[in-house]
Amino acid sequence: MIPEVGHFALILALCVALVQGILPIYGAATGSPVLMSVAKPAARTQFLLVLIAFCCLGYAFADKDFSVLYVAANANSKLPLHYRLAAIWGAHEGSLLLWTFILTLWMFAVTLFSTHLPETMRARILGVMGLVSVGFLLFMLTVSNPFERLIPAAPDGRDLNPLLQDPGMVMHPPMLYMGYVGFSVAFAFAIAALLGGNLDAAWARWSRPWTTVAWCFLTVGIALGSGWAYYELGWGGWWFWDPVENASFMPWLAGTALMHSLAVTDKRGGFKVWTVLLAIMAFSLSLLGTFLVRSGVLTSVHAFATDPKRGLFILAFLAVVIGGSLLLYAWRAPRVGLGGGFDLVSRESMLLANNVLLVVAMGSVLLGTLYPLFLDALGLGKISVGPPYFDTVFVPLMTPAIFLMGIGPIAQWKKASLPVLAMQLRWAFGASVATALLLPFVLGKWTPLLSLGLLLSAWIVTTTLVNIRERVSHLSAKNFMSGLSALPRAYWGMVLAHCGIAVFIVGVTMVKGFEVEQDLRMNVGETATIGGYTFRFDGAQDVKGPNYRAARGTVAVSKDGREVTVMYPEKRLYSVQNQAMTEAAIDSGLWRDLYVSLGEPLENGAWSVRLYHKPFVDWIWGGCLIMALGGLLAVSDRRYRLVWRRERLEEPEALRPPDKSAA
């Protein structure tokens, strides 16, 4: 009964989404306040309905209702409750329900925080989001219904993919989707602005916090996914340039460009057309990512449950949504105008250059991801594009981008002077070069890439310090400390996010430069030493988990004769799917990770064991978290809070006629 309630709620949600997608947009075009006022209650109703559907599926999992096909395929009576709930988004149908749920959640958020928007604008935004939602609901109800019954019911379920039975994976999809779908808000703002023909600074200011929040979620989501790959796949890698990873990275690059472009549109009124295009691009890439992951056009280590028939639906949807918005763009954008002019050397030009670099980087990731598909489609053979391509393309593109990232915030709007900039930054430059040249020797090894990585991170940090000093000196504060506290949060957010990049680069550089890996056969009692740590293998015992059996190795680690830690890597065999999983043991630290994973059992209790010493590897994810925190700090800035406070004061007035009549 409960699954039918969920199914019915989805059907109702589709009806509401159709109303929400058509009436308000039509109302905004004809100037009918009654039709426009439908948007808000419709969006809230739709949120409620999809929430009901989501809870119904959750209930089916919690209740182990194996008469629901999706539950039977992705859960098992022995699967612990928290993983049963996470199994809601463990495969295709449920992921889509999560997608749609998050879309309506963002809609609901828009209805809460949009009272300061003009009625027509809000109607159009919610209308566009409603149309996107129509596509997803239709998709679920036609070809991938999560509530489909299995009659007769299965005696027990086939269990969740063991790869996904992991705390990181529980959080990764919701975070990632919050980011993906969050770009739908910026997209809806852009389309609404194109429809209305008023692309002004106000539009950019409204879009900014939404874009930044979505970007934060996406950053955390990608970091979680990468962390998951690091400890769950047992290879010790943290990024594989796999199609599914690229699918999440492309919207991130476009979203990063969009955030910066919005800043220019907000502050200077420039880049309008470009910003609109980026907003369309960021969301299109989110949709494309969904398509690539869900359709099975590309092979991937992470592609779970793909189905080409569904791919056709998503492709058609993609063509309508993206094709439609690009058509609208081509039709409306020429009338927008270019906004304020700027000099060749100015903050605008640097932001533009960085934007272009980010978009080119995004394009090269897209090309690398789809290249095998292109060749295959043209009948030119099967190839796969791997890390060598991406590494070769990415480093040269990011190096100038990061160089500009240091200068941009210091340069003045509209017109800056190169000699002045050079004067301001000479110490920063000198200090960075010195660090890059000398530090590798202190660390005991010099390679060009090591030097480059250190140069870039030192450059970000030193230029940021210069920038803070400059900012404070302009404030004419009593002293330096009071000047620091007078700087707005949006500024500190930027500083923090940029420093996050520096931390990230340090992590990548140090891991690439200094990690030590050893694959060896270890007898019981045998030792091996890497990175100054001595690992002693004390054999493996059989242990039993709720839905798996495992061999758990015991590895004692010591340094200079002192015991550091004891690690327990596992090799698990999940009984239902008969799938072996490597559960690496990791001893994390600020300066290094020790990583042990079990390979295969050999005779006499010996095992093949893989040992890693990975200096600074946690800085990679730490950097991502710092970036996301920077974003959140920026969103908490006074200027946004002021808007919201003001709107609360104005609310009674805004709710007065004529739009009240429809409610």
Partner: protein, 175 residues
């Protein structure tokens, strides 16, 4: 206007490729062995260890070589398809039991049914290396001259059999 149409044009090309991509199977990996003579081997038979099996025994016939193992899930999935083909009797299917234990393999065949007139035993997986076995199951179509004409990686299903394998077998048999 024209330059604003550019993103749309780029996107249209992309959609075209994606549409074609949907019709292709990314898991279909071409084997360098297709069009080459099947590597020779001499392996003991599963049911009668005294006897051996070699591809040369099959000269003059079109036949399928199916690489399987009792530990492999995909083999269980494709097994009904093989049983059907064996019953239809249009083309002989010979098995190669790959990196397996003899008693496991025998009891697996007892339970699932045996579509193979003869199964060769590649216990160490050495011949698998010659044939470039990526993973089990794999199926090779070999013609009268002993040349590999097609290689299926992963389980066979009704669609592949009806659309690819049987037409190819008929064509090769007619030659």
């Amino acid at each position: 206007m024209k330059r604003f149409l550019l993103p749309l044009a780029v996107f249209a090309v992309l959609v075209g490729f994606l549409a074609v991509g949907l019709t292709l199977n990314p898991r279909e990996v071409p084997s360098p062995l297709v069009g080459k003579p099947a590597p020779a081997f001499l392996l003991p038979q599963l049911h009668d260890q005294e006897k051996t099996f070699a591809p040369a025994d099959m000269a003059g016939q079109v036949w399928l070589l199916n690489v399987w193992a009792s530990w492999c899930g995909g083999c269980k999935e494709e097994h009904p398809v093989l049983m059907q083909m064996a019953q239809a009797g249009n083309v002989p299917i010979y098995g190669m039991d790959y990196k397996d234990r003899r008693e496991d393999a025998l009891s697996w065949l007892r339970r699932q049914g045996n579509p193979y007139p003869v199964t060769a035993v590649d216990a160490e997986g050495r011949i698998g290396i010659d044939y470039g076995v990526y993973g089990v199951p794999e199926t090779y179509v070999i013609d009268k001259q002993g040349v590999i004409r097609y290689k299926q990686i992963g389980p066979l299903d009704d669609e592949v059999v009806a659309k690819t394998i049987m037409p190819l077998v008929k064509e090769l048999q007619a030659k």
